[in-house]
């Protein structure tokens, strides 16, 4: 039964990927979210012509083709990647692994090369962010195809004037599916890591789709609800981040099993109830992220991290510093106070100084 469902799903999203695996790295199923590379390119300037696609490091051949065919979308993809990194860092600000990026090409270092929970989160948030950013770009008129593109399912064949276009989110999600998932798909036989990545990518997109807000407007006679138009509005990305973070906390450890001819991921502990499409799954337990490991880029350890003395949670000094203890120093913090704001671009504040106790891990 599960196998059947899974194969159907595969056929459905048939050109999907694991965001990124790089030729730079050797392991075959060595996937890292592609957008993470694109984000690094923000210094390159805009991705404006087809030639830039060739120069993008980290794209596989089929992605370069998609890039060339959709150059206008790539700018949005890049923005989405940045969004994913920002959101990841926000969600993980209090954890031992705080989603810190490196200046090297795999921005998260080797931390997410294993099939850990963290990797699951990064894949999910990247797939979601690409869908989110592309949808936004559609709404602001930057892209020309979007909801009326016939390549995207759910379009009305009669065109805009007869029946309007489908929602932009359909295009955003479909683009994320084709561009992000193509990495995993392109390798032919799906490894278990590819299966995990595909699942998490889809879970990330579901975090948007499942939390679309339905809004309605009545506009019948005298504004009565005789005629009512409803539409789905995308949740703010912070909300998407929160949802995926919750899924991260409740992620299921899985292993690959063969059902018939297809490979599927099933919970390692058969006592647990099987994961749904919205849940995150991972294959390997996470390291403790306590110590700096020079052999593993991105494994920075928690030395020097601030911690919360009073908290018993992961941001508390006890857990954050892995029992190594912490320094406490009194620092003078210059804070803004009694500020005057405009809705944009104008803040006038006084500076208030106060002494704060800061705790840093040894």
């Amino acid at each position: 039964m599960t196998g059947l469902l899974n194969s159907q799903k595969e056929a459905f999203v048939d050109e999907v990927l694991c965001l990124v695996s790089l030729k730079l790295f050797t392991t075959p199923h060595y996937c890292r979210p592609l957008s993470m590379y694109l984000a690094k390119l923000s210094s390159v300037g805009s991705i404006s012509d087809e030639e830039t696609c060739e120069k993008l490091r980290g794209l596989i051949q089929r992605q370069v083709q998609i890039c060339k065919r959709n150059v206008e979308v790539m700018e949005a993809v890049r923005r989405g990647a940045q969004l994913a990194i920002d959101e990841c860092q926000y969600q993980f600000r209090n954890r031992r692994w705080n989603c810190s990026t490196l200046d090297t090409v795999p921005v998260f270092g080797k931390v997410i090369t294993q099939g850990t929970r963290e990797a699951a989160f990064v894949y999910a948030i990247s797939a979601a962010s690409v869908a989110f950013a592309v949808t936004r770009a559609c709404s602001s008129g930057e892209l020309e195809k979007c909801g009326c593109d016939r390549n995207v399912h759910g379009t009305s064949p009669e065109g805009f004037q007869w029946s309007g276009c489908s929602d932009n989110i359909a295009y955003g999600v479909a683009f994320s599916q084709s561009f992000v998932d193509v990495r995993e798909r392109s390798k032919g036989q799906l490894s278990n890591r590819a299966l995990m990545n595909l699942h998490n990518n889809e879970a990330g997109r579901k975090a948007i789709l499942g939390h679309m807000r339905v809004e309605c407007k009545c506009h019948g006679v005298s504004g009565s609800c005789e005629v009512k138009t409803c539409w789905k509005a995308m949740p703010p990305f912070r909300k998407v981040g929160n949802v995926i973070k919750e899924k991260f906390d409740g992620a299921t450890e899985v292993e690959q099993r063969k059902v018939g001819t297809t490979k599927v991921l099933v919970p390692r502990n058969s006592q647990f109830k099987p994961h749904t499409d919205e849940d995150l799954v991972y294959l390997d337990p996470s390291p403790d992220f306590c110590e700096h490991d020079p052999r593993t880029p991105g494994m920075l350890g928690t030395v020097g991290r601030y911690c919360n003395k009073t908290s018993k949670a992961i941001d508390g000094c006890e857990l954050m510093c892995c029992g190594r203890g912490f320094h406490t120093e009194e620092v003078e913090v210059v804070d803004r106070c009694s500020c005057k704001f405009h809705w944009c671009c104008y803040v006038k504040c006084k500076q208030c100084r106060k002494m704060v106790e800061m705790h840093t891990c040894r």
Binding site: S139, G141, P236, C337, W343, C344
Partner: protein, 548 residues
């Protein structure tokens, strides 16, 4: 109103007529469900943040394009604006309707735009209590991608921000968005141009207390709603088809009435008026909106619907009243002032409200009565008064229906004791009333059920390869249904003009012996029955008998 066709028709013919009407009914549902697309479309727009860098440009009425050739200097977010030292007053939110590579069309009939602010929570820059956003908005149009923008409207509007923050207001939650109510922004009664451009500014002035304390705005999102071109075409086709059908039956009906020896009674006039108001709705004047820029079409449509509803409600009251059978003289509209009064008054209130909203929008498309406190109170007052009128009306109606049923059961018991003519007269009344009651209840139930289904449902169902547009089916089906209702009413309740001779030939049963005695009965009836029509009474009696 004695001797209507419905009583003289044989059951077989009645069933045939009913089946034909049902067929048309099914057809009208199918037209909407299978041919038409969904009635309206909502398109999302995200405003582009343009920078009005050169002051001189501003004086020369410059329009800011979000994309395409001659697009404005854009900024991605306001951190960028902060870094570039751009002030809030120099930021213009630009939205081009429609999205690239599309064109608007007069078939869209109307366009309304909803505004939504994305406001991020900041510990030290929260939305103040009762904050009001002041928007300086301009709307321009053009009909080719190369021509210049022509201003259509310009206005300074105030909108009350109704936002709440669902999580705790702590530093941790900074950056989450407030949940804000949708704000009505713009309403156009016709879409006669291909391209529209909106430029929105949020001018800040601490001295005038403009746009202060509205939080940190991240984005402005708009939702544009318009009728689907396909739906408009199907709708027009339906109207064009229905107009002559109702018109013809109306003329036929009136001819029948004028052919009679007596002047028309109130009920007959009311049915005719119902026909007129139905035709008034049906006449497809909307065809003109394709060629002309008639922005008042939306308002006119509201008025037409209002007239029909008022007429239909009045008809029900008068129909009940005329079938009360309590021997008192009615047949005058003034008798019904208590019941019709609330209808007229309620409709008038809604009319005033509509004029205040859509009427003002003819001159200023950004106007909304809900935007100001006084306006909101006024609007609510109108709606509440109209609501009270509606309640009052339904109380009257229910009471009247109750009275009729009470009288019917009273008459029932005394029926066998009556003379034949009287008995047939009452039986005719009871039959007519029950028939209409049944049909009306069925129609009303259909309307309510479909209304609920269309409200709850997501808008379309899939049956195999077919997609059924439930909302469109609701509109065309219900519209068709009330048309058929009025049609059937005029057809079945028209006075029958079967004469003695016809009657006897078609009756089949012999009544020879009875005819002599009738004249005496008639005289008796005229004294007790409101509007007796000598000969009709007799043939009605015979017709009734013949059916039995």
């Amino acid at each position: 109103m004695a001797g209507a066709i419905i009583e003289n028709m044989s059951t077989k013919k009645l069933v045939i007529v009913g089946l034909i009407l049902l067929l048309f009914q099914a057809f009208s549902f199918m037209v909407g469900g299978l041919i038409a697309p969904s009635p309206t479309t909502a398109v999302h727009y995200l405003a582009t943040k343009c920078v009005d860098s050169v002051k001189a440009h501003h004086q020369g009425k410059k329009w800011f394009m979000p994309w395409g050739p001659y697009q404005c200097d854009k900024i991605r977010d306001f951190d960028e604006a902060m870094a570039k030292r751009i002030e809030a007053n120099n930021i213009v939110f630009a939205v081009h309707i429609p999205l690239p590579n599309k064109e608007m069309s007069p078939w869209f009939q109307f366009m309304l735009v909803i505004l939504q602010f994305d406001i991020a929570f900041k510990m030290y820059n929260q939305i103040q209590e009762g904050a009001v956003a002041t928007l300086d908005v301009g709307l321009a149009y053009r009909d080719s991608t190369l021509s210049k923008w022509t201003e259509m409207a310009h206005s300074v509007e105030k909108r009350k921000l109704n936002c709440n923050f669902t999580t705790t207001k702590t530093v941790e939650n900074e950056g989450r968005y407030y949940e804000c109510d949708l704000l009505p922004f713009m309403e156009l009664g016709s879409v006669s141009h291909k391209y529209y451009l909106l430029n929105i500014r949020l001018p800040v002035s601490e001295r005038k207390n403009l746009n202060v304390g509205i939080g940190e705005i991240k984005d402005i999102r708009l939702v544009g709603i318009h009728q689907n071109g396909g739906f408009t075409k199907v709708w027009f086709a339906m109207k064009t088809f229905l107009t002559p059908s109702i018109l013809i039956i109306m003329i036929w009906y009136w001819r029948r009435i004028t052919m009679m020896s007596r002047p028309p009674v109130l009920l007959e006039k009311v049915i005719f008026a119902l026909g007129i108001s139905m035709t008034f709705i049906n006449i497809p004047v909307e065809w003109f909106s394709i060629g002309f820029d008639w922005t008042w079409m939306l308002l006119f449509g509201d008025i037409r619907q209002g007239v029909f509803y008022a007429m239909l409600l009045s008809f029900w009251i008068i129909f009940c009243g005329e079938h009360l059978m309590d021997q008192s003289e009615r047949n005058r509209l003034s008798v019904y002032w208590k019941q019709v009064g609330p209808i007229v008054f309620g409709s008038f209130c809604l009319f005033i409200f509509d004029m205040c909203e859509r009427g003002v929008q003819l001159t200023n498309p950004f106007y909304s009565i809900w935007a100001s406190d006084v306006g909101t109170e006024l609007a609510m007052a109108f709606i509440i008064v109209a609501g009270i009128c509606a309640c009052l009306y339904f109380l009257f109606l229910c009471f009247m229906v109750f009275q009729v049923f009470r009288n019917i059961s009273g008459k029932r018991s005394s029926l066998p004791a009556m003379t034949k003519a009287r008995r047939l007269h009452y039986e005719g009344l009871i039959f007519r009333f029950k028939f209409l009651m049944l049909v009306t209840l069925a129609c009303a139930a259909m309307t309510v059920i479909f209304f609920i289904v269309s409200q709850v449902n997501e808008g379309h169902w899939h049956w195999g390869d077919y997609t059924v547009q439930v909302n469109s089916a609701f509109f065309t089906g219900i519209y068709g249904m009330w048309n058929l209702y009025v049609f059937a009413l005029m057809f079945l309740y028209a006075p029958s003009h079967k004469r003695y001779g016809d009657e006897q030939s078609s009756a089949g049963t012999c009544y020879c012996g009875d005819q002599g005695g009738n004249s005496g009965e008639d005289i008796q009836l005229t004294t007790t029955i409101t509007h007796v029509d000598g000969p009709t009474e007799v043939y009605k009696m015979m017709g009734k008998e013949s059916q039995e």
